[in-house]
Symmetry: C2
Subunit: 119 residues, 2 copies
DNA sequence: GCAACTAGATGTATTTCGCACCTAGTTGCA
DNA sequence: TGCAACTAGGTGCGAAATACATCTAGTTGC
């Protein structure tokens, strides 16, 4: 397996909407809690996803120069981004419904086998 | 959006496990009912996924030559394939749990906004 | 003075995916 | 007879997504 879609775009939008604003390195630390799939997300994918959301107008960024440490590119969700997040959530609701049905019906397949006595 | 992972591998394994055996064109017709995502799945992707599952030993195929119509490559799930399906289902259970939590927490974000009076 | 950590970025190879296109058998109809 | 529509499978290629390696640069602690 392994190729559970990264699907990090909606998670990033969600985290940013909830936190108000954040930056890549920080989001990378929060992502595992919501990452859809077990494999850790590559930082490159995350940075590029943020940049792409910005070019699409869903985020805006500015440089934050903390008194200590390297500069951070801080992102905020725009109105367009909030709308995009809601579209994502509608899509994910459907996704979730289909997935649950699949899991339910797959469990029915598994249960009646019981070949433990044939050993 | 659009890139809700195709995630068709577990669906194909599930459908084949339930039906006993089937072929690409038929599975393509059943897929939309379980497709995780709204966009229709390209037939190329489906055929290639079946071939890949076969090279990994999760499926076996033989040619069926019906009295009417073109030949069909009929697939059956192997023992390895059934095991693989169960692994997939375990992964998708986790996936579903995380997804539901994301949806729940995102709904909390949306609800309290209510800017309808500011127009 | 150097290792470890924070923070962001690029460049490139690989993988995945979708589109266009092809073969071939059958059915229906004009 | 000819051809459109449908069934059934497949290939080749380009675009997009992804992963890996590598780079710069500031700070902290030893």
């Amino acid at each position: 397996m392994g190729q559970l879609s990264r699907l990090i775009e909606p998670v990033l939008l969600f985290l940013l909407a909830r936190k108000g604003h954040s930056y890549g390195y920080d989001l990378a630390a929060e992502l595992p809690a919501y990452a859809l799939g077990p494999e850790p997300v590559d930082r490159t994918t995350l940075y590029r996803c943020l940049r792409q959301l910005e070019t699409h107008g869903h985020l805006v960024s500015h440089w934050d120069l903390p008194t200590a440490g390297p500069a951070r590119r801080v992102y905020c969700v725009t109105a367009s981004g909030r709308q995009h997040l809601q579209e994502w959530m509608r899509a994910l609701e459907l996704f979730s419904g289909t997935l649950d049905r699949l899991l339910r019906e797959a469990r029915i397949l598994e249960s009646p086998v019981e070949e433990s006595l044939t050993t």
